[in-house]
């Protein structure tokens, strides 16, 4: 098991960084200026009450949600954004599409393409976006399916899988892109309780491999055990930040302690 402190934060430029990231929906300000950076090999859990803006923040990192203001750097490269009516706009789609192949995302509702089999879901982006050869990618996809325990279901359609199986397939779909960062948007929130474990196990293995992961989650125990760093969002701002030991030890930040205690009750 990785010790949280093992994550090496020295000498590497940030994988993803934001400066003054803001987002409002109409008159509601969801993100109030977030300065954040993630380095190679870090596993960062983003926690917060519902409405704290944590999912919005994650979705801004690959521009599925357009921020209203601020700057975004991915792999040291500034993402071109230009001013729009009530939010920023993508200046260069090509750049964003290129960066997105390196920043994979796992969604709360799995979002597997329902007209394709599991194997086709895995091969879709590598073949059509990255232009890799079918034969090569097929082997990798099969290996990836074996890894998440879905070899037997590779020709099934998403509708024929359980939620846990769908989410494992979605993780495999993210991994075959060979991304440098993995974003997880509440990956277990839509699952029946008995299916959560199988997905968390896969994620834990990925963390142990030293992958860079940003995880929005409500799984407190998982966040405490697996993360190298916790980012606590509170009403659109960074409420607290630190290692799990620092934060979960208590006394570091009263709002965070309150959040955790309320969570443990509920």
């Amino acid at each position: 098991m990785t010790s949280p402190m093992q994550a090496n934060t020295a000498n590497t430029s940030p994988v993803i960084a934001t400066e003054g990231l803001r987002k409002h929906f109409g008159t509601v300000e969801v993100l109030k200026g977030i300065d954040f950076s993630a380095r190679d090999g870090e596993v960062i859990s983003i926690l917060g009450a519902s409405g704290s803006g944590k999912s919005t923040f994650l979705r801004c990192l690959n521009l599925l949600e357009m921020p209203s203001a601020g700057r975004l750097h991915i792999f040291g490269e500034e993402v071109g954004l230009r001013a729009g009516k009530d939010r920023l706009r993508i200046a260069n789609r090509r750049q964003v599409d290129r960066l997105r192949t390196q920043v994979a995302m796992v969604f709360q509702n799995f979002c597997l393409w329902s007209h394709m089999t599991v194997l086709e879901n895995l091969m879709e982006a590598p073949v059509h976006v990255q232009g890799r050869s079918r034969a090569e990618i097929r082997e990798e996809a099969e290996a990836m399916l074996a890894r998440v325990g879905l070899t037997a279901r590779r020709d099934a359609y998403p509708a024929q899988l359980s939620g846990g199986q769908q989410q494992r397939a979605a993780i495999a779909r993210a991994l075959v892109m060979k991304p440098r960062v993995l974003l997880f948007d509440e990956p277990t929130s839509a699952l029946d309780p008995e299916l959560v474990g199988e997905v968390l196990k896969v994620m834990r293995d990925l963390a142990d491999e030293g992958r860079t992961m940003l995880i929005v989650t409500h799984e407190m125990a998982f966040a405490r055990d697996v993360s190298s760093r916790i980012l606590f969002l509170d009403q659109g701002q960074i409420g607290a930040e630190g290692t799990p030991q620092q934060l979960f030890g208590g006394g570091h930040n009263p709002r965070f302690d309150q959040f955790v205690s309320r969570f443990n009750q509920g």
């Binding site: 599925l64 599409d97 509708a159 024929q160």
Partner: protein, 237 residues
């Protein structure tokens, strides 16, 4: 000796069999061309109606209101008479005096295309609205450019969701081709009418036309049903 039913419907010298089959071919050809032209109009109409801008939405709404609200036969007349007037004016202006008209098959296909396009607009629009936004986002998150999203994710799923409605529209299109008899296209109904007139057997020949329409509708319906079941497979448990 008047010929019997079998001679009349056969392929011999007194038989109308060959002409009826040929006319059935014209009916099918007009229906297929009209339907696919309608798909073009339908996709365009759906794009207009789904636009975030007001002007395109209003144009789309105008199109579907007119072509779904006005009787099809009036649209056929408009294109038949209006089309030849327009073509004649253009030719005369270009220095070619005289009277011109478009082939009735072309006019008929355009009329059916415009009408079925208005219905197909609704089919594609509601199918598009049923798409799962998350799956499109998942494509974007993989770095798919817009054209790839459209081709690999949006188009196949929209087609799948629109197919049942498209099947109904196809059946309407098939029957609508009979209206083209009024502008002189020798499709099934007009050919049956000619045969009925010259043999004084309207019951027989209009009956045969009805049966042929039923058969064509049933067969194409079964084929579309098969396609529908095939494309629905991913969504069945």
């Amino acid at each position: 000796m008047t010929p019997g039913t079998f001679e009349l419907l056969g392929f011999g010298p007194q038989g109308w069999g060959f002409l009826l089959l040929k006319a059935a071919g014209t009916t099918i050809a007009a229906a297929i061309c009209g339907f696919f032209l309608g798909s073009l109009f339908g996709l365009l109409g759906a794009a207009l109606k789904l636009s975030s801008l007001l002007a395109p939405r209003m144009i789309g709404q105008f199109y579907t209101t007119i072509f779904r609200g006005v009787p099809e036969i009036l649209i056929v007349y408009l294109l038949f008479f209006g089309g030849s007037v327009a073509v004649t004016q253009v030719m005369n202006l270009g220095g070619f005096p005289g009277f011109y008209s478009l082939p009735v098959f072309v006019i008929g296909v355009i009329a059916i295309g415009l009408v079925s396009g208005a219905y197909q607009t609704e089919a594609y629009r509601s199918a598009f609205l049923r798409l799962n936004r998350g799956q499109i986002e998942a494509g974007a998150a993989c770095g798919m450019p817009r054209h790839l999203l459209l081709r690999r994710i949006i188009a196949p799923q929209t087609l799948r969701f629109a197919l049942p409605a498209l099947g109904n529209i196809w059946q309407s299109v098939l029957k609508e081709t009979s209206l083209l008899s009024v502008i002189g296209l020798t499709e099934l109904l007009r050919q049956a009418g000619t045969a009925a007139g010259s043999t004084r057997q309207p019951l027989l020949f209009y009956g045969i036309a009805a049966i042929l329409f039923l058969i064509i509708g049933r067969m194409t319906g079964a084929a579309l049903g098969g396609l529908e079941r095939h494309l629905a497979k991913p969504w069945s448990r």
